[in-house]
């Protein structure tokens, strides 16, 4: 019962935040709505027993990635989004495609509704330690490989954002 | 030697082209080396008739090695009595093309000769390949150097002409490729004879449904190349814009690739379909003959005139083949050679005129006979050869074709014969307008006659036209068994039946029998019923 209430609250917050991102015309408002979505998602992660993931979600997404976004919005002083006529291809192909995709997804999930079962608070809980062990055993290679990824990201950011000499 | 001779002939020009690439950009050196290389190739090719074993009906000088394991592609080359002459025609024409280009090509001579030699390889390759894949490789390979020759060294609208030429042939040959792949997929081989056997033994699954499409796949590719009537529009453009050597090779050899393909593939591999569709193909051929001739008649441009005459002449070849008679097909093959020599020579002659006056307009000339006596003599001989005067080569071919056509259907013969009349008309009229009468333009009065180089390049052609006219059995002797061999799967009108079928064919039979016994005088004894 508590779980359901919490799910509905956070779920509604998520959707509302996401819709707000879509509807707001100022990028900073969109960014803030996204932060709200991320926060609510972190709480949903907690409900699903992923406490470490929830914390990292807040630290990395809300605390680092989105700060970067806000920073850039402020730096470039991005104003209110102008209403220009968008790509017609995107609208005419994209929106129907999106609706089809969504219906398809709902069908795929709905048809497995019973097989998926119920989520119960505490029924599945991953201690941080176990997560760490998984990360450094089975997922050692991806973990190490992400270092290359980060290296590239650093180099790329430096190269692109650096002022011309 | 016999194993390697075809490879040698085919790739000597390429090797020469490679050599040329590394030579300094000295026009003299380049010209001479290109000439020598092409002559070497010609000398090698003489090996073929010299060592021809006349007993064998099938392919000779075969070389067959695995080229690529998967797909199962073989390096399979061989020649029979038909293709051997086409190879020789190619090697024979190329040195002259090099020779007449000595002065007419300005700038980028190295590239020009390289392209010529590469083109020679590709053309020879088309005629000697017995692996469908290899055939296709050379077929497409011939396209590019030719397009480049037209496009780089041609006249004002050369780019348009080159692109048109390329696209027409390219698009058409894609259909052929599809057919080839289909055949490969269902037989597991590209080999001509294997496929032929498979078709005859009905061992290909689904062949019945696909045969029609396959036939059309090949047919379109070849018909465009020939060019058969509705597909011919690229030809006048290409001819008019091409440099002289390009025109010579285009008319002399490239068009023959189409006819050769029709004979080798459409008729031999798909006899049933060929017979089924012969009526409209022949109709198209005859339309081509007459239409080409009529259009040629009204051309103010010499080169365009000759180009349309090619349409007309090639119509004879197609007509001959699709009569499925021994005589008609023999004639078609022979006509291919004739056309190669005489039209090639015509283009060379026009080229020489162009070098002097830089125009092909007929009205610019007139009365050339007096300032250029040697030239006009040679021109006359070639014109007569092209018209098909007895004693010249054109006569033999056209006669055989028409006799075949008469025996197949009298109407074909009658309509075809009119084409001969027209051709006499436009060519002689051309000659008259150009060489006879007063010198209308003062410039023309001081034109110098054919010089040494030009004579060297023209006289052998004229001689060849004459030899082929009087000594046709030399050729027919080798062509005939091969034609018979390739017609065998189809309903050959055998010699016994032929005598009951009609006058035309019986005459042809008589003619053939005479040639087979190598009595050239017999040819002369045949009444000249087709001439006016």
């Amino acid at each position: 019962m508590l779980h359901q209430v919490l799910f509905i609250i956070f779920g509604v917050v998520c959707v509302a935040g996401a819709l707000n991102l879509l509807l707001q015309r100022h990028p900073i408002n969109s960014a803030l709505s996204l932060i709200v979505v991320m926060g609510a998602l972190a709480l949903l992660f907690l409900l699903l027993g992923a406490e470490f993931v929830a914390a990292v979600q807040v630290i990395v997404y809300a605390g680092a990635v989105m700060v970067l976004f806000v920073f850039v919005i402020m730096l470039l002083n991005a104003g209110v989004e102008e209403h220009t006529r968008g790509s017609r291809v995107a609208i005419f192909l994209g929106i129907p495609g999106l609706i089809a995709f969504f219906i398809f997804m709902c069908w795929a999930i709905g048809s497995n509704g019973s097989a998926l079962g119920q989520a119960r608070i505490g029924s599945f809980y991953v201690p941080t330690q176990e997560l760490g062990i998984a990360l450094f055993r089975e997922f050692l290679l991806p973990f190490e490989v992400t270092s290359v990824l980060i290296l590239i990201a650093i180099m790329g950011a430096v190269v692109l954002a650096r002022r011309e000499r | 030697m016999n194993d390697w001779i075809l490879t040698l002939i085919t790739f000597v020009p390429t090797a020469g082209a490679l050599l040329l690439m590394f030579l300094p950009r000295n026009d003299r050196v380049l010209k001479w080396s290109a000439l020598i290389i092409s002559i070497i190739a010609f000398i090698f090719s003489l090996h073929l008739p010299a060592h021809w074993s006349s007993g064998a009906h099938g392919f000779q000088f075969a070389v067959d090695a695995q080229w690529i394991k998967s797909p199962n592609i073989h390096y399979h080359m061989a020649v029979d009595g038909i293709s051997v002459w086409l190879v020789l025609l190619t090697t024979f024409l190329t040195p002259f093309c090099v020779l007449i280009s000595w002065k007419s090509i300005h700038g980028a001579t190295k590239e020009f000769f390289v392209l010529m030699l590469v083109l020679e390889t590709a053309m020879i390759g088309v005629f000697v390949s017995l692996d469908l894949f290899l055939f296709y490789v050379f077929w497409e390979g011939a396209l590019i150097p030719m397009a480049l020759i037209i496009g780089m060294y041609g006249h004002e609208r050369r780019v348009y002409a080159a692109v048109k030429f390329f696209l027409y042939t390219m698009v058409a040959s894609v259909f052929m490729l599809a057919s080839i792949i289909w055949l490969y997929v269902h037989t597991g081989s590209f080999d001509y004879s294997i496929i032929q056997n498979a078709i005859q033994n009905h061992s290909i699954s689904g062949f019945g449904n696909a045969a029609e499409l396959l036939f059309f796949g090949f047919f379109i590719a070849f018909a465009v190349k020939v060019p058969l009537f509705p597909f011919h529009t690229w030809l006048p453009d290409a001819h008019v814009e091409a440099p002289t050597a390009g025109s010579v090779l285009l008319a002399g050899v490239l068009l023959k690739m189409g006819v050769y393909g029709l004979l080798r593939f459409n008729v031999t591999l798909f006899p049933d379909q060929a017979h089924e569709h012969a009526w409209w193909i022949n109709t198209l051929a005859i339309i081509g003959i007459i239409y080409g001739a009529l259009v040629a008649l009204v051309q103010p441009n010499m080169k365009k005139l000759v180009a349309y005459s090619s349409v007309s002449h090639l119509g004879f070849c197609v007509l001959g083949i699709f009569t499925f008679t021994q005589a008609g097909t023999d004639g078609a093959v022979y006509q291919m050679l004739n056309h190669g020599v005489s039209t090639g020579a015509l283009f060379m002659l026009l080229g020489m005129l162009y070098e002097r006056r830089h125009t092909y307009e007929i009205k610019e000339y007139g009365g050339l006979a007096s300032p250029m006596p040697v030239y006009s003599t040679l021109f006359l001989m070639i014109t007569l050869s092209s018209v098909g005067l007895p004693l010249f080569n054109g006569f033999v071919g056209e006669f055989l074709v028409l006799s075949g056509a008469f025996s197949a259907k009298a109407l074909y013969g009658i309509l075809g014969t009119t084409g001969v009349i027209w051709s006499a008309g436009y060519l002689l009229w051309l000659y008259q307008r150009t060489f006879f009468g007063q010198v209308t333009q003062p410039v023309n009065a001081s034109l110098h006659d054919a010089d040494g180089r030009e004579r060297v390049s023209l006289i052998p052609m004229v001689a060849m036209a004459l030899i082929m006219g009087v000594a046709s059995p030399l050729w027919i002797r080798m062509i005939d068994p091969a034609v018979e061999h390739s017609l065998r799967p189809s309903n050959v009108i055998s010699a016994e039946n032929a005598t009951h079928e009609g006058d035309g064919d019986s005459l042809a039979r008589a003619f053939l029998n005479s040639t087979r016994t190598a009595r050239p005088e017999a040819a002369a004894s045949v009444p000249d019923i087709t001439r006016k």
């Binding site: 996401a18 879509l22 997404y61 998926l116 991806p142 692109l160 | -």
Partner: protein, 100 residues
């Protein structure tokens, strides 16, 4: 007790909103944010499935997604700054030197 399909549907909804935002928004930064929203939706899906299969790996994936998202953000924002420097606008329709 919440059916797991609710979580998955929520994920699908968020993803779809992200896609929609990607299609209709005109500000480059907002478009980029909608991609982040999509990645978040995927994260929710991962965690929900981890719950279903009782597997740790589902949660490990989320980390990798986050790392990737962070790397993308760094590079993406740098690119946005570069674009702004040359074009002085953040509207995708005005970033149109290259015709589409």
């Amino acid at each position: 007790m919440v059916p797991l399909s609710w979580y998955l549907t929520l994920g699908a909804i968020l993803f779809a909103i992200g896609v929609a935002a990607f299609l209709v928004k005109r500000n480059i930064i907002t478009i980029f944010m909608s991609i982040e929203l999509m990645l978040n939706a995927v994260n929710l899906t991962f965690v929900a499935f981890a719950n279903h299969w009782h597997q740790v790996s589902g949660q490990v994936f989320v980390f990798f997604v986050m790392v990737v998202a962070a790397a993308e953000a760094a590079v993406g924002l740098a690119i946005i700054i570069a674009v702004f420097r040359t074009r002085e606008t953040l509207n995708v329709d005005q970033v149109n030197l290259l015709k589409l």
